[in-house]
Symmetry: C2
């Protein structure tokens, strides 16, 4: 175990969970927030900015990249990262649709 039984859930539920999981670590939230804040691509200063070891940041970037939320471009000896607008929008819709549900009735308990 330790592995989620994804096969018993719908594609939709698995997809919501996959995106949510990627946002489920403060370092990844901080990375994404920084990319939004500086509003351009980030080349190299993420390690300083976030305050974790280089290997650790690289691992978090890999998670975000593998989901498509960010993309990286090699610029000489450094790599520049930025939000992938298209996939970010896709994630936004999937998560929003889920969390913006409202109860039609009062909770009974």
């Amino acid at each position: 175990m330790g592995t989620a039984k994804t096969e018993i859930f719908s594609t939709q539920h698995n997809e919501i969970a996959r995106f949510a999981k990627a946002l489920g670590h403060p370092a990844r939230v901080a990375i994404l927030q920084h990319l939004f804040k500086i509003n351009t691509c980030v080349c190299g200063d993420l390690v300083v900015e976030i305050g974790l070891a280089q290997a650790t940041i690289s691992q978090h970037l890999k998670v975000l990249k593998s989901l498509g939320l960010i993309k990286g471009n090699v610029e000489g000896t450094s790599v520049c990262y930025c939000i992938d607008n298209e996939n970010w929008a896709k994630m936004k819709h999937i998560i929003s649709n889920f969390i913006n549900q409202d109860l039609n009735t009062q909770s009974c308990c």
Copy 2:
């Protein structure tokens, strides 16, 4: 390790991550979705509905309850769960504010 270094991140980033993490498992997504769908409290049929062992469901419910997203009421020999509207709204705002950010400029890469 295996433990996130939450102390180096802002309260806001940690809070976003905490909520996102709770939504980061398809079983918990399915549980919440079911609670919205039937639009009232659920007494006892979650194990059948989701298809995991009773102990496993109980554990997922505990995660959701400890974050305040759901609440449970004892009704005789069973327990009824429902969405906690107040905390759900709080989560909704926190997550929405984060994911609804838009880039002012084109990505440079």
